[in-house]
């Protein structure tokens, strides 16, 4: 059995390698410091264009948490050249799809269009990088929109709300303690001047990466980028304060009481990311460890806790390999009927203990690696995803070349390394735990009437 599995994994390797050659990334840096990355994908006559800024919620000081996200919303509100709403109208008329997103470590904007219309998106993105209008009336309305967004995502969602409280407990001084969307009283009190200052500080070509993936030629894209983005003036970027999380000195626990129907458990161990690890191999070992626990339906958590012990109705593990700052290795679970969060916590700790005591067997390890290899092929089905990987790795400071290293580095991880990171990082003193204690939801009243 072992031999067959090993074969399976090895068989995939040449497949990946033979196609990897076609997906070379071309890089060009404009004189103003803006980096341009291009990856060809000629399967369809379209291109995705993404502009990534090195700014996100982990850049924000107290009092204005969520301002990166607020600014992302305001970026659709007009410039010297284009009135409110024009940006989206022009993209739509060109058959485009567009959106934007904000994370802990980045803010990104994207358009997907027929490849021949790339100039439309470049012209508009270059324009709003430097010439944004921040108008009080528009801010007033958009503040309401963001507040509604927060209600929908967090305030009315028990598990999301608990996650928010959990992060605020688990991190002491790391900015990851704040939600991306911001704390309510911060959102309520943004002023135009706050947004103006944030925009001035971070929205500059030398703080941005342009990524294009699709039916394009790198040289033509670079020429187009020169035309639209090169005239933009760079800024003097003030370095970001490091805000390194202090060492945790013992386990932290909290109960979150909310109207809900099911209890819920979240656990998180302080771990380095690929960016902050002193040895890269530790980060890749943690990535594989996450796969051992939660890499599909055959992985240990689903097999052992959902099916075997039937102690959970759902369970998961997560590790943010590519976060800019040190992060959490998380475990989360919902207990099965008749079980409670403490049963679950013990069961999860037993799984951790197993990883510390006994080496992962070869068959299991090969299965994780086979999945990683296959996913590397599947991911190339989506130009958007490929662009996202390049943009994200560049923006968190790892550099886009790390994308190409991923499969090899995961392949090099040994069972001993997985055990060693479990022993080093998944320990009680680095642990935070939160329990969701459901409160009754008020009786449902149904009122009927004819309009």
């Amino acid at each position: 059995m072992n031999n067959r599995l090993l074969c399976a994994a090895l068989l995939v390797l040449p497949v990946f390698a033979s196609h990897a050659a076609e997906t070379k990334v071309s890089e060009h840096v404009l004189k103003n410091g803006m980096k341009v990355l291009v990856k060809e994908d000629h399967r369809s006559p379209i291109a995705v264009s993404q502009v990534w800024y090195k700014v996100g919620s982990s850049y924000e000081p107290g009092g204005i948490t969520g301002i990166s996200h607020m600014l992302e919303h305001m970026m659709f509100k007009g410039t010297d050249k284009h009135a409110v709403g024009e940006f989206s109208r022009i993209i739509a008329e060109n058959g485009g799809e567009e959106n934007a997103f904000t994370g802990d470590d980045y803010t990104a904007y994207f358009q997907t269009m027929e490849a021949s219309r790339l100039a439309v998106s470049f012209e508009l993105e270059a324009d709003r990088m430097r010439n944004l209008h921040l108008l009080p009336d528009e801010l007033k309305k958009e503040l309401q929109v963001v507040t509604e967004e927060r209600r929908m995502r967090t305030d009315d969602n028990p598990q999301a709300k608990m996650q928010e409280h959990f992060n605020a407990m688990a991190y002491t001084n790391s900015p990851y303690r704040n939600p991306v969307i911001g704390w309510p009283s911060d959102i309520e009190n943004y002023k135009v001047e706050d947004l103006q200052a944030w925009y001035q500080r971070w929205y500059a070509p030398n703080n941005a990466t342009l990524v294009v993936v699709g039916d394009v030629q790198p040289k033509a894209v670079f020429a187009l980028a020169e035309k639209y983005f090169a005239p933009l003036k760079p800024s003097e970027l003030k370095p970001l304060k490091p805000q390194v999380e202090v060492e945790q000195l013992g386990v932290r626990k909290m109960t979150v009481k909310l109207p809900a129907k099911l209890p819920y458990l979240v656990m998180g161990y302080k771990v380095p990311s690929l960016k902050t690890a002193t040895q890269e191999s530790e980060a890749y070992a943690l990535e594989v460890l996450a796969g051992v626990l939660d890499g599909g339906s055959s992985a240990r958590l689903e097999s052992g806790l959902v099916r075997g012990k039937q102690i959970a109705v759902s369970v998961g593990a997560g590790y943010e390999l590519h976060s800019r700052l040190s992060t959490l290795f998380t475990l989360e679970a919902t207990p099965a009927e008749g079980k409670n969060v403490w049963d679950l916590e013990n069961a999860l700790k037993e799984e951790i203990a197993k990883l510390q005591l006994k080496l992962v067997d070869n068959e299991e390890l090969q299965r994780i690696k086979a999945q990683v290899l296959a996913k590397a092929v599947y991911e190339r089905d989506s130009g958007f995803y490929q662009a996202m990987q390049l943009g994200m790795l560049e923006t968190v400071g790892l550099g886009w070349k790390k994308v190409d290293e991923y499969v090899d580095k995961v392949n090099q991880v040994t069972a001993e390394q997985v055990r060693d990171v479990a022993l080093k990082y998944l320990v009680e003193d680095k642990l935070s735990v939160a329990y969701l204690e459901p409160l009754p939801i008020t009786e449902t009243k149904i009122e009927k009437g004819v309009r």
Binding site: R151, G295, T444, V450
Partner: protein
């Protein structure tokens, strides 16, 4: 970073998707109630824009179609560039076939990969995952389907195909697996009761469809699922998972011969069986109605709509293009403009037609602070009434056509999206040139034809309004 593209999420209707898409979470098997995992904290300016990524639509690709000797329809498209294939096997066995046992179709589907042939759930999962294959199963109102994404190297492909074959032809339906999956479904149903959006959606379908087979939620209810027995699942499987009721979609880097062999392998072992009778027509609601469900949330979820359009509807393109202008466009539409851009009343405001075998829902949705519900509803209803009365302007129609045709290639620019398209075409027996003629049908739409179609098909006198949320005075702290 564990970010998964939303195309992995199997959801049935756009208006539901546009809410759940917010999570950016990966729902492994298309089980509606898989509880979501903690995910990368991403905040989008507007989530429905992402729905476009996974909205099955049409494609200008060469679809080949044939029948297996046992009578299953096969749809095949050869794509190049990546050594992978997406395969779907679909049956007319969605929740509309539940009868009075709501949730039967969904639980049957969930049981498939928990035991088959000689293998238990662990062994099945290991077989797929050892070759990097991804398997999923799920149901919509109309359809039950399994999907496989695998590499095309022969030993890997063969192992994955063999596993799906055994799952489809000899599922075990063990009592122990049944009890466990039933309990998980019940937990999901319970959790649904903490979500005002889910409660609104359930009430909305009930209001639109009453006792029609579309009237109940696909996962069922706590009462109906509790009453299910494993024997019910076995007979449901025996009746509906049969060759004449099966359709196979193969999209990827396989030759036609390989596709033929794959289809034969997957469904060749199924008994011929019978195609079920077509679902009954949908009866329109007798009159407009409004229903409020009190819920301790800070927002009220609003759904307004009525039975809308079906897959072979001659009015489809008029309704589709018209709705694009009214509320279907992601960041540019009348509803988005009136509710969000002008007034800041909601994060998302949109409308959609969800065509099904019979009339699927026309739904307008928004979520707003409790004390603004009345105002938001007024804006929504006025926007709709004005659109029905006046139709779009020529300029709006031109812009919509430019958006739809200009972005046509993006509808099928990935293997996954193309496979979903082909699946829709196959399942609903649409013309094979549907993709090639799509743009010309869009071009033929006029202001007058939209106006005419909306007047006949979207009637404010029949609108069902659902609101779920707190009362106005409890709204903001």
């Amino acid at each position: 970073m564990r970010i998964h593209l939303l195309s992995f999420i199997l959801k049935k209707h756009k208006f539901r998707l546009s809410r759940q898409a917010a999570q950016l979470s990966f729902i492994p098997k298309g089980h509606k109630f898989r509880l979501s995992r903690p995910t990368a904290q991403l905040s989008f300016i507007f989530i429905a824009g992402f729905a476009a990524f996974c909205n099955p639509a049409q494609a200008a690709a060469k679809i080949e179609n044939w029948q297996t000797p046992q009578g299953s329809r096969v749809y095949y498209v050869h794509t190049e560039g990546l050594p992978m294939v997406d395969i779907q096997v679909a049956f007319d066995a969605g929740s509309a076939r539940d009868g009075s046992q709501f949730g039967l179709s969904a639980l049957t589907s969930a049981l498939l990969d928990t035991g088959a042939g000689q293998w238990n759930a662990d062994q099945i999962a290991q077989r797929f995952e050892s070759v990097g294959a991804q398997f999923g199963s799920g149901v919509t109102n109309d359809m039950a389907s399994v999907s496989l994404r695998t590499l095309t190297d022969k030993p890997l492909l063969d192992k994955a195909l063999e596993t799906v074959q055994v799952i489809l032809t000899s599922p075990s339906f063990n009592e122990a697996d049944f009890q466990r999956e039933k309990n998980r479904t019940l937990a999901g149903l319970k959790q649904q009761e903490e979500s005002p959006g889910e409660l609104a959606s359930i009430a909305f379908y009930k209001a639109l469809y009453g006792d029609h087979p579309y009237g109940h939620p696909t996962p069922g209810s706590i009462a109906t699922v509790s009453a299910l027995q494993v024997a019910d699942l076995r007979s449901f499987y025996q009746k509906y998972y049969v060759a004449t009721n099966a359709m196979v979609v193969v999209v990827g880097d396989l030759t036609k011969e390989q596709a033929e062999q794959a289809a034969e392998k997957l469904v060749g072992g199924l008994p011929a069986g019978q195609k079920p009778e077509p679902l009954p027509e949908v009866a329109m609601p007798a009159k407009a109605n409004a229903q409020h469900i009190d819920f301790p949330s800070s927002q009220t979820h609003v759904l307004v709509g009525m039975p809308g359009t079906f897959r072979k509807d001659p009015d489809y393109f008029n309704l589709y293009v018209g709705n694009h202008i009214l509320g279907g466009g992601a960041l540019v539409s009348k509803l988005f403009n009136e509710v969000r851009e002008k007034r800041g009343l909601a994060y998302s405001a949109s409308s959609s037609f969800g065509p099904m075998f019979r009339k699927g829902p026309f739904a307008i949705s928004l979520q707003t602070r409790n004390d603004q519900t009345g105002q938001a509803l007024d804006v929504l209803n006025k926007t709709l009434a004005d659109f029905i009365a006046q139709g779009p302007t020529e300029a709006e129609l031109t812009a919509a056509k430019k958006n739809i045709t200009g972005g046509f290639a993006m509808r099928f620019d990935t293997n996954k999206k193309l496979a979903n398209y082909v699946s829709m075409i196959g399942f609903y027996d649409m013309p094979l040139d549907y993709l090639d003629t799509f743009q010309s049908y869009v071009e033929k739409v006029t202001v007058a034809s939209i106006k005419d179609a909306f007047k006949r098909r979207v009637d404010p006198q029949l609108m069902q309004t659902i609101t779920v949320g707190g009362s106005a005075n409890k709204s903001e702290k």
